[in-house]
């Protein structure tokens, strides 16, 4: 299904507190995302890519335009779109396992027994079985982010929304989790919107990269990474490095040009 998510003419403007200064965050923008597709939103910081993703998640209301998921018009947030945040959103009063189980708490499609099984499944998938009974402020930032990802997957959303989920992590942990996410994606084929400003991360994980302009966000370029570097090659580390660096340079140049606009405006 090619138009699994349909974003149509979505626009958003923020007003300053006194209501005098308007900042257009997202210009009327349309886009479709296919089922099972991993789309990376890439762009200069503050460009409105996170806002657009939050609109898809129902956490922000657009001033105009509509979002359809599987043909259904979306309004507020619900379980169909799970979100992983940049900051650690695992609950400190619950153990690792109970955090993941919390993802199943509001599901009515499975039994209590199945909820336990789902919890164990994702606990194993993110490699935290050994830490099941730990409270989350006694595990590292990378582990906490794995808890948040597992919790979101356990809620079985149709769409996974990830807001720079690895942004606060050190380089080694980030790389480890990127590969773990590729494994998860291979197993689950979950439709994902992933916001990042890390070009290499985008190339590594994406089926498609959407590059945004500086604020207000409009699409500067879309790149189907699959056509340039196969996902298997990227996963196995056998990707053609010349192509990889050429693509990286091309994207960096686009973003650099957009970032320059940001500075001019300021």
């Amino acid at each position: 299904m090619d138009n699994f998510i349909q974003i149509k003419d979505v626009a958003k403007t923020y007003w300053s507190n006194d209501g005098k200064i308007e900042t257009k965050v997202v210009l009327p923008l349309s886009m479709t995302i296919g089922e099972g597709e991993m789309v990376m939103f890439l762009g200069p910081s503050g460009c409105g890519k996170t806002t657009l993703m939050r609109i898809v998640g129902g956490l922000e209301t657009p001033d105009q335009g509509t979002i359809h998921l599987h043909g259904d018009l979306l309004t507020g947030p619900d379980r169909r779109r799970g979100m992983v945040f940049q900051s650690y959103s695992s609950y400190p009063w619950l153990t690792v396992r109970d955090n993941i189980k919390f993802g199943t708490r509001y599901r009515k499609d499975i039994s209590a027994q199945e909820k336990e099984e789902v919890t164990d499944h994702y606990l194993n998938m993110v490699g935290l079985k050994r830490y099941a009974d730990f409270y989350t402020n006694r595990i590292s930032g990378g582990m906490r982010q794995r808890v948040a990802i597992a919790r979101t997957l356990a809620s079985s959303p149709d769409v996974l929304l990830m807001d720079e989920p690895f942004g606060a992590l050190d380089a080694q942990t980030r790389e480890y989790l990127q590969f773990q996410l590729m494994d998860i994606n291979k197993a689950e084929k979950k439709t994902t919107i992933f916001v990042t400003h890390d070009v290499e991360e985008a190339i590594l994980l994406a089926n498609r990269i959407v590059i945004f302009s500086s604020r207000p966000a409009r699409v500067v370029r879309e790149i189907k990474v699959d056509d340039i570097l196969s996902i298997e090659d990227r996963r196995n580390g056998t990707a053609d490095m010349d192509r990889f660096f050429k693509l990286r340079a091309e994207i960096l140049e686009l973003i650099r040009a957009e970032y320059a606009h940001t500075l001019e405006e300021a």
Binding site: G57, G58, L59, G76, P77, D78, R79, R81, G82, M83, F85, S87, S89, Y91, P92, W93, F102, G103, R105, Y106, R107, Y135, N137, R138, A148, R151, T152, S155, P157, L161
Partner: protein
């Protein structure tokens, strides 16, 4: 050993903490005793620690002080719980719905700044000199502080906790019960502990004005006979009760919220 005492911004072990805490008291008592023995201050004004301890015992034996303590503690807890059961729901409401905050916050802020002792005459006119006016004094002193503290505690729950709940399919009521309250609870318990301390402050105000029982009454009536040791013993009693209550709250806090320890 000595060097570890001065480790910059590092915690000490529990035993050292306890020993140092007791040392503080002993130092204070020693200086007090030395001052009295030096004869600089007349004993009517500053009796020796031994005299105070003697007076403390006398209060129990001769004046049935234990029943005054029970009365004071009951007043404090009754007023405190009355504050808590009203302030928690209202505080949650204020932090959740902007309209409730908009209505209540300015008013609460206004009342909060009224000095409680200044309200005593009014409360006596309204409620007489019985128990009701005393509870009212304590309640006025704690409720309006607590409601804002509870509201702030819940406002400080990270927005990601709430939003992750929304995207996991929780309803607003479920987010309140399953996420906001558990997340805010440690800070809320701390707010209760602090408010409890204020309750004891206002107890004396309440019991000095028109009371015939309670620790404050005992202190105030013995003052007329310049029974300085007994007055000091009464004050120290409040200190001890306060210290014990505070420690009980802290103990409960570490037991209930062991997950906060790193």
């Amino acid at each position: 050993m000595f060097k570890s005492l001065f480790a910059f911004r590092k915690p000490l072990n529990r035993r050292t903490d306890l020993v140092l805490g007791i040392t503080g008291f002993i130092l204070f008592l020693t200086m007090w005793e030395i001052t009295v023995r030096s004869g600089v201050i007349r004993p009517e004004f500053l009796p020796s620690p031994v005299a105070v301890v003697q007076a403390f015992v006398n209060l129990f034996v001769e004046r049935n002080f234990a029943s005054d303590i029970v009365i004071s503690v009951s007043r404090v807890w009754f007023a405190f719980l009355l504050s808590v059961i009203i302030a928690i729901p209202l505080g949650l409401l204020m932090s959740t719905y902007r309209f409730a905050g908009a209505i209540l916050e300015p008013f609460v802020d206004f009342v909060r700044y009224l000095p409680v002792p200044a309200l005593v005459p009014l409360l006596v006119i309204w409620f007489g000199v019985g128990e009701t006016s005393k509870i009212a004094v304590l309640w006025m002193g704690t409720f309006f502080q607590l409601i804002l503290m509870i509201s702030d505690d819940t406002k400080r729950v990270p927005v990601e906790f709430v939003e992750s709940g929304q995207t996991l399919g929780a309803s607003n009521g479920q987010i309140m019960r399953h996420i906001i309250i558990p997340a805010a609870l440690p800070n809320m318990i701390d707010s209760l502990r602090i408010t409890m301390g204020w309750c004891w402050t206002y107890l004396i105000v309440a019991e000095i004005v028109a009371a015939n029982s309670g620790i404050g009454h005992v202190i105030w009536s013995l003052r007329r006979f310049v029974k300085t040791p007994e007055v000091m013993a009464g004050i120290i009693t409040i200190g001890i009760i306060g210290l014990l209550t505070d420690q009980a709250f802290r103990y409960a806090h570490t037991r209930l919220f062991s997950y906060l320890r790193r």
